[in-house]
Amino acid sequence: MTHDVTEPAAAASGHATSDARRTGAVRRAPGGPAGTGSAGPNRRGDDWRKRLEILVFVTPALALIALFVAWPIVTAVRFSVYDWKGFGDLTDFVGLENYAEVLGDEVFRSAVGHNMVIVVGSILLQLPLGVAIALLLNRKMRGQGLLRTIIFVPYVLAEVIAAVVWLQLLQPQYGFIDAVTAQIGLTPPEQGWLGTPEYALWIVLLVLTWKYLGLAVLLFLAGMQGVSEELHEAAQLDGASWWQTQWRITIPLLGPTMRTWAFLSMIGSIQCFDMIWVLTQGGPADATATMATYLIDEGTKRHNYGIAGAASVILFVIAFAMALAYQVLILRRDTQDDTQRYTRAESALFGALSRKRKAA
């Protein structure tokens, strides 16, 4: 159960990756892997051999992705320019009509809005909660292992299973939540939490937060393990309180992890489907429809595969644009102030160390 194996790796990683990053832009001469003394006189042979090796390593994964991800998606794109009911050959070519229809559909436009609510809401809820819980779990306390274990439980459950359980809990009138609400003297909404269009999306958001908070905590804990003990100890010897230490050292150093997590969370939120499908099927009155429920509804329920194809292409374009924007606006910053941050942290560390030595 020890994780010592990774410690030297973690220690080296900073340097290794930042090296790669800093030099990445510089065009490298072809040759052996960086710094391994394999750049012999037989450069041509080496080059050829290197390519072959890369091919051998990368091909199985690429072939699987080509076969089971790319091919179906290309097929979906093909559907998107036809009016296809799901049977027989693709004959009724309609050009971009399906796209026009999807974009003109109010339900789809509101679905995009719901996706955005989930994207932003997930980050606003899970980020502070996740950091707080990760800080808590990073403390030495009795039952810490158990606590860490417990927090991951919802994340491991199938969305379908989790949704079935929540459906039971949120049952209007006869469910656990309504029973509790009534007991503390409040009146649950007449239509039930999931049946009231004004609440449904927020309830879904809360359930999603419950389900995925574990992932945030997991990643933040992993990030925190990279923060040196000495930094903390030194800061404490400096008289900083626990909170001050976390605020000044842990949280700033967690920045890249947070940004990475936010990226993953964003991608997940845009694709959100299983949970909503079981909880509300996108209802009531499309109040919780997302792009994914829209396209499944159009496809498998109404057999408008052309429309579904167009919606999936639009979903991808939106996801791609957001990922790109995120990369440009937020993640790039990491690389830019990488050096600066690195130095800052390092000087803080050495400063702290020298003080610690003095204190000792």
């Binding site: 091919l55 091909t59 199985p60 690429l62 072939a63 699987l64 080509a66 076969l67 009016d83 009911k85 799901g86 049977f87 027989g88 229809e101 339900v107 949120l170 049952q171 209007p172 009138q173 006869y174 469910g175 007449e190 239509q191 039930g192 939490w193 999931l194 049946g195 009231t196 269009p197 449904a200 509300t280 099927q281 209802g283 009531p284 009155a285 499309d286 109040a287 509804d297 498998t300 329920k301 109404r302 057999h303 408008n304 595969y305």
Partner: protein, 429 residues
């Protein structure tokens, strides 16, 4: 680059060979003497009964092998769609259920379903006018084995408790009953609006009351919803919703799964009535622990008459299931479907309360008194309007159902229903 591509192609091919090598599915759907039969009776007694039916057929037809696969209803629909989309004969069952209407027309157009007009002419004559829902251009593609009608199932005890002595026949009666039930502290009606179709049945019914048979029949063909009766039916629906007769949380209530579904609420005495089809007693029996449902408290009345409506007062709204044979199925499949419609099989079907048989010789075998009454209503109706979402096809029906649920959620008007339906219909033309 080309080397890379070649290698990739080679690996892909290798992967495919390896993959097919791994395929272990032994049974081939194309076998001449193997009939693959999909049905949705995955509860006993239906499940066991159908297994017995298959065994009997095998015994009478040596050399024929019937593979029975029972699915949960929704799973069956998903898999059937997927099988048809794949166009792979090994995936497509030989004998399966057709709901008729626009969906069947799509299947016929794609050449997926066998024309049974000649081979099963005796059975078609026997069933009579009800096969109309499974005909396309005068040809019959499936044999309905159960056709039911949708009406209000109610709890006699709760009605008595609220002081309602006779079942409502008009809208005024219905509203009066709702008021009495509310006054007695009983939630009047449950509806599983989360699943859309139970809510949509209300609109189908108001339209059947408001529109004449001619208007409805021609709408199915022309997909033209401009007749004023369609919007009038929407206004009726708005009125019903405004009365607030429905259970708390009806927008997030499912149709028939578990004790908190619309059927469950009726079965456990939490509401007084529900608009549902002939399956309701069976569903309620499945949901209650004693397997009795409402038992002898079960009552039924037809959807109330609407004053000034153009519909025939005795007309019914409902639908059913039919056995179809897929194109490319072994010949024995047609014999099997005919066997499924035989008096023997239909009698057992009726005895087990699996539905309302279409073979007239089997109708007497219904043991459930509620169903026995219901079949009389069905057989005396001048016509049974097929569920709109089936009749118009899933694309138009889906749009219509969504617009109807919006009205239930207080987010749409009568005109919106017609508008959304017409918009979806225009795309079909």
């Amino acid at each position: 680059m080309s080397r890379k591509t070649q290698a990739l192609a080679a690996l892909c091919a290798g992967l495919m060979i390896a993959a097919t090598g791994c395929g272990s599915s032994g049974d081939s759907g194309g076998d001449d003497n193997t009939i693959i039969w999909w049905h949705n009776s995955n509860n006993d007694p239906g499940k066991g009964y159908y297994e017995q039916v298959a065994k009997d057929f095998e015994k009478a037809n040596p050399g024929v092998d019937v593979k029975v696969q029972a699915f949960a209803h929704e799973d069956m629909l998903t898999k059937l769609d997927a099988a048809f989309q794949s166009g792979d004969p090994e995936q497509i069952p030989d004998v399966y259920m057709e709901r008729g209407g626009g969906e069947l027309a799509d299947h016929v157009e794609a050449g997926l379903t066998k024309d049974l007009s000649e081979d099963a002419s005796d059975e078609i004559d026997m069933i009579g006018g009800s096969v109309a829902g499974w005909q396309v251009d005068g040809k019959t593609y499936a044999l309905p084995f159960s056709i039911g009608v949708v009406g209000f199932w109610y709890n006699k005890d709760l009605f008595a408790k609220a002081g309602i002595t006779t079942a409502p026949t008009t809208m005024e009666d219905f509203y009066a009953a709702v008021d009495k039930l509310k006054a007695a502290g009983i939630q009047p009606v449950s509806v599983g609006a989360k699943d859309a179709w139970p809510a949509a049945h209300y609109y189908y019914w108001t339209a059947v009351r408001e529109c004449s048979e001619d208007v409805l029949t021609s709408a199915v063909k022309s997909l033209d919803f401009s007749d004023a009766c369609f919007e009038k039916a929407g206004d009726d629906l708005v009125d019903i919703v405004a009365k607030k007769p429905f259970n708390n949380g009806f927008l997030s209530t499912g149709a028939q799964e578990g004790p908190t579904s619309a059927s469950g609420l009726l079965a456990t005495g939490k509401v007084a009535m529900e608009l549902a089809g002939h399956w309701e007693p069976g569903v309620m029996q499945g949901i209650t622990e004693d397997k009795k449902g409402l038992g002898d408290k079960t009552g039924w009345f037809a959807f109330p008459q609407i004053e000034g409506g153009q519909g025939d007062p005795a007309a019914q709204m409902g639908g059913g299931d039919a056995w179809a044979v897929s194109e490319g199925a072994p010949d024995a499949s047609v014999d099997f479907v005919k066997y499924l419609l035989s008096t023997d099989v239909q009698t057992g079907f009726a005895k087990n309360g699996m539905g309302l048989p279409t073979n007239p010789d089997a109708t007497g075998a219904l043991t459930d008194p509620a169903l026995a009454d219901l079949i009389k209503v069905r057989d005396s109706a001048p016509y049974v309007q097929l569920y709109f979402d089936t009749a118009f096809g899933q694309s138009v029906g889906g749009a219509m159902n969504d617009a109807i649920v919006n009205v239930f959620a207080g987010k749409g008007s009568a005109a919106d229903i017609v508008k959304a339906t017409q918009a979806a219909a225009d795309k079909e033309k």
